[in-house]
């Protein structure tokens, strides 16, 4: 099997890289947007952006995934700009005939509602804390992997995560929100 580093060299390799890591990036984009349809387009954009930036790739433990999470974090943060930049490419995407999410539509709607409620609290944190929580807690990256994704020292990841956890604990103690009780 080709390594991620080898796959980064050619368009065909990038296609394989998408099949290898696309699902993880898709779910990460959903958790940052609470929108499954947008997450699909954003996942595509992450790999289009990654191609542009492939010279600066960082391979960690033989995988490009942490670096791709970093690209995804920037794409989501600058969502409108990213969508504009790649709109033409997305418009060339062949559309299929199958109905969207036919088999699990209700569950996905419920996912989106739950995720919106979570993000409601989440958005009160500084962006840098949101990023480290999303990567380390939701996507289960190690401190080292999150450091690669965010381009910061490992110690910074640890301190940001500790602070964000502390602040969220305060919120949960103090915030009787309707979402929690569902």
């Amino acid at each position: 099997m080709e390594t991620d580093r080898e796959l980064l060299r050619t368009p065909d390799g990038f296609g394989t890289l998408f099949e290898r890591h696309g699902r993880a990036i898709y779910n990460y984009c959903f958790r940052r947007t609470a929108d499954w349809a947008a997450a699909e387009d954003l996942a595509s954009i992450v790999f289009l952006e990654a191609w542009r930036k492939r010279e600066s790739v960082q391979i960690h433990d033989e995988t490009a995934l942490p670096w791709l999470y970093g690209v995804a974090t920037n794409v989501v943060r600058n969502r409108a700009r990213s969508m504009r930049r790649h709109r033409a490419a997305l418009e060339r995407l062949p559309r299929g005939h199958e109905p969207d999410f036919a088999n699990d539509a209700a569950e996905r709607l419920d996912d989106a509602r739950r995720m919106r409620n979570v993000l409601e609290s989440f958005r009160l944190l500084p962006r840098r804390d949101q990023d480290v929580l999303a990567l380390c807690i939701w996507s289960e990256l190690s401190y080292e992997e999150a450091a690669v994704a965010l381009g910061v020292p490992v110690g910074t990841v640890r301190s940001r995560l500790a602070r964000a956890r502390s602040r969220l604990r305060d919120e949960i103690d103090l915030a009787p929100k309707e979402a929690r009780a569902r």
Binding site: F14, G15, A43, R127
Partner: protein, 234 residues
Amino acid sequence: MNELTVPRDRDFPAGRLERRARHLVSELRPSRRRRLWPTLVPAIAILLVGATAFTAYRLTRDEPTVLESIGCYDRASLDANVAVVSPGAGGPVAACRRVWNQGAMEGPEPRRFAACVLSTGPIGVFPSTGSGTCAALGLADVSSRALAEARRFAALREAIFAKVGAPPSGLSRGSSLCLSEQSARRIVRQELDGRGYSDWTITTGGEPFSPERPCADVSFDGQEKAVVLLSGTR
């Protein structure tokens, strides 16, 4: 951390991963059209994008875009502890005063507060020693118009909760009302129309209504301008 438990991972819908992989490859292969494209972008397009971005920046800086919850900070710092609370009809500052009155924050209750627009969209309320608190944090003051809108939205929520039933929370067990989807939909529509929210829609989410889950719960989605009815039990 149960509130932050996120939905489980899902696969792409059937066939989409492969289709998008093929699309990605086709986009990345060199083509005459895409090589020429950058040279065809006129400078005016760059100016338009810049103007659009600047407009969006101003709008998000000056007006809150999330009204469903507010953040009460225990000191005038973005690194301070924050309590997330639902807005009340008295406005964001009154809602945060209640948090202080309940003894949920450490230290004496500040005499003054400043309501600022957080960079992520909601309103943040900070202890203040005078004017310029928001500016010192790099944030915009919430305009009086936005404060009025926040109070109006909070009044809508409270009116709907009073008639359809408030969901349980950390401080209350919730309402014992059990309205059907149709009854809840009718009441919510009346409140929306009567309070100037006619452009809002009513949708359903989660598990379908059924004899086992006959009672309507209400959730608000300000960004989608939608009231979401969810099936539940009592």
